[in-house]
Symmetry: C2
Subunit: 215 residues, 2 copies
């Protein structure tokens, strides 16, 4: 329903129009923690899908006056993708509605990556939904480690233990983030709880940070 790439592309193109290659680089930088590298085999078909839906437009990058450029080498021009008003609307709608897929690993990751464009109430809702999901996974792993321990070999058990550890760690992380959200503060303070003297307008509260409008 709300594929990861679609969401991420609509989110990124709101900062600036881009061509495919650039988009992939930004995508990889932004989602590096949850995805190794976005494949062109999914990027280009998704772009075409988004254009068919009217959420983005693609325009061949043409010099101001095409004639004066030597046409000796008819280089295939880069295709620049720009988000439309409907696309922005679509993105807002995808943020608002949180389905079950919002809480799986990649779904949550991409939503989190665009929390700067998400209002606080929705951020809180997503964080709590994710926490619930991870808690369920944690209970499942505990069950297996408890009940079916003797049916599994030592390596499999070690794998479960490592997974369980990761779950517990993520729950703690989420708890911290939730507490921060509730207190109205910025995302997360690395260690020192004294005076987060950082950049204030990094756009935690207002998604209306309309900077980087490149014509």
């Amino acid at each position: 329903m709300a594929p990861v790439l679609e969401f991420a592309i609509l989110g990124l193109l709101q900062e600036a129009p881009m061509h495919g290659y650039e988009l992939r680089k930004e995508l990889t930088a932004k989602l590096g923690a949850i995805r190794a590298a976005i494949s062109y085999g999914s990027l280009y078909p998704t772009l075409r899908r988004l254009q068919a839906a009217g959420w983005i437009t693609e325009a061949a990058e043409t010099p101001a006056t095409a004639e004066e450029v030597p046409a000796l080498t008819s280089r295939r021009g880069r295709v620049v993708y720009t988000i439309t008003a409907e696309g922005k609307e679509r993105f807002a709608q995808l943020i608002a509605q949180a389905g079950p897929e919002t809480y799986d690993d990649t779904g949550f990751g991409v939503h989190f990556a665009f929390f700067a464009r998400t209002d606080q109430a929705t951020r809180l809702r997503i964080l709590e939904g994710r926490r619930r999901k991870i808690e369920e996974r944690r209970e499942g792993l505990r069950d297996v480690l408890g009940r079916a321990a003797e049916r599994l070999d030592a390596y499999t058990l070690e794998l479960q233990r490592h997974g369980l550890d990761a779950c517990e760690r993520e729950v703690r992380w989420l708890e911290e983030l939730i507490a921060n959200e509730r207190s109205g503060r910025a995302p997360a303070a690395p260690d020192t709880g004294t005076a987060t003297g950082r950049g204030d307008n990094d756009s935690p509260p207002t998604p209306g940070t309309s900077r980087t409008e490149r014509p």
Copy 2:
């Protein structure tokens, strides 16, 4: 080349023949740490593919004498899947050859889950390959957090930080496992040292999974 499901199914069917539903449950228990739940939409096609390749056989579960059973309700019999000699060979081959996909998240997970059927040298090779891959991911995240920090918002940075933390943690985990392997000890010893030094044959004693035969 070596899809996760194919590997896992061949590994599981070496313990006992199973029908689809049971297979899915075992799969979910064994891979619970790396996969939420195996979908039938991938399980059944994979089973058919494996049969077409001659690595498993499927047999309709028929009562000993079909006639005496009341055929009033023509219940669709369960289909029991059994691994063939070629299947065992294929599994051994999949273990031996470690490609790049052996070290990604799910690929490594499923290989690790069947380490009890893997010789020590290969275990070591896989653990080190995985470590290398995670170290690369870690460096990538450090780069982004270092170089492109000001280009990203606070939430995205927090996501990268969390991912980086997970990488560092997994590297430590792998180091520990590698050290254990080198010392010839069992996987990871919380405390007890029971049942070490296994992995001799390709068909260990049946873990009594032949129960639950309800006619």
